[in-house]
Amino acid sequence: MKPGRFDYVRAGTLAEAHGALSEGGDDARIIAGGQSLVPMLSMRVARPTVLIDIMHLAELAKIEVKENAIRVGAGVRQATLLAWSELANRQPLLAAALPWVGHAQTRSRGTVCGSIAHADPSAEIPLTLLALKGIVELSSQRNRRRVMAEEFFTGLMSTARKDDELIEAVEIPCRAAGVGYAFREFARRHGDFAIVACAAVARKGAVRLAIGGVTDCPIARDFPDIEGDALDDALDRFASDLEAHDDLHATADYRRGLVRRLGQVTVEEARRCRA
């Protein structure tokens, strides 16, 4: 398992990265931490002819708080965000989900935006972004645009990013008063890909539950503030509507069962955290 051939470009400025990406088209790929991309290269699932390294751009390595959102630049590693002293206070859902992303030995290199670009169906960061209605900031040589998480993830490992665009940052809404957050995951081993992951956001009168690991990309549903049997019924309908797949790790039915049980636990926990 060795990668095929590619040119390697170490971008010195963001403009250089945009230029190389525009020139390379769909044969070019951005590399940041490489924790998702390098295995794809080694297995030759991805065969770019140019890799553009953006990890030497200081302007992308920033975590900023802007208005009511945390802006995480494309160069910020998962471990760096997890170690950020304000994280749990600014966004408890992100603080709860990040320890589930890979292992400490991969979070040390992997980036937050890289996980979003890769868009694995069971990945925790895309799930959290969707649950919180975050925004992906894309830029290219010609254009800049902001895409809501809901529109960004378009299918199995596919996103709304165009070939000449890179993810410059993501914006994750900060915690709001009177809103509760919870994250739960089931996997065979901590750090493995989730069989089912749940992220819940409970506000007054409404609950949003996002599910990862079941469908081609994370999926969210908004419920009224229901409890007991009404919640069970609503989760049952949600689980039945999901296009779940069988694989080596679990059957589709098993996954739907987890959505019902783990979903309920997650929603109840978020509701308790609302006060």
Binding site: M1, K2, P3, G4, R5, F6, D7, Y8, V9, R10, A11, G12, T13, E16, A20, I31, G34, Q35, V38, P39, L41, S42, M43, T49, L51, D53, M55, A79, G102, H103, A104, Q105, T106, S108, R109, R189, H190, G191
Partner: protein, 169 residues
């Protein structure tokens, strides 16, 4: 903006176990292969080659990372530490290595280098780890011989010994 072309070998320089090293690599070369084949440092093992097993774990700029998920050219200018850098002097083992020996925390030894590099970092950062914390941390490594119990025992014992040494100092 440096562009390293696919079909040529390019000079890569970094600090390895406190010493400057350099050799040539194609852009597609993994750091595991660069360390083993070009620098002759075969202590770092290659297992699954997609980041799951942890055998190739080394320290890059002071933190544990998978060498198989890193390109040699990405490591240019970095500070790298491998299992060869653990022993204080030739013929002597580090506290952690000695503890692994005492507890029989390895059988075939294939996973050991990676686990040592992870634990070396972890015990420095967390001098008083609980067994549960160590279990979670070791989740980033696969061992098919030991069943992990002796590895945990060795890690806890080493943590105690390192605390004593730190208190004496």
């Amino acid at each position: 903006m440096p562009r390293l072309t696919a079909d040529a070998r390019h000079r890569v320089r970094f600090e390895l176990n406190g010493r400057s090293v350099e050799a040539d690599a194609e852009p597609r070369m993994l750091l595991t292969d660069f360390l083993r084949h070009d620098l002759g440092m075969t202590g770092t093992h290659v297992g699954c080659e997609h980041g799951v097993c942890g055998a190739c774990t080394i320290q890059i700029d002071g933190v544990p990372a998978r060498a198989c998920l890193t390109l040699a050219v990405q490591a240019d200018g970095a500070k790298i530490r491998t299992v060869e850098g653990l022993a204080p002097t030739s013929g002597r083992l580090s506290v952690l290595q000695e503890s692994f020996r005492r507890h029989h925390a390895l059988q075939c030894g294939f996973c050991t280098a990676g686990i040592l590099m992870s634990l070396d970092y972890y015990l420095q950062r967390h001098p008083g780890p609980t067994e549960a914390e160590l279990r979670e941390y070791l989740g980033g490594h696969l061992c098919r011989c030991t069943g992990y119990a002796p590895i945990l025992a060795a890690a806890l014992d080493a943590a105690g010994k390192l605390r004593e040494t730190a208190a004496d100092a």
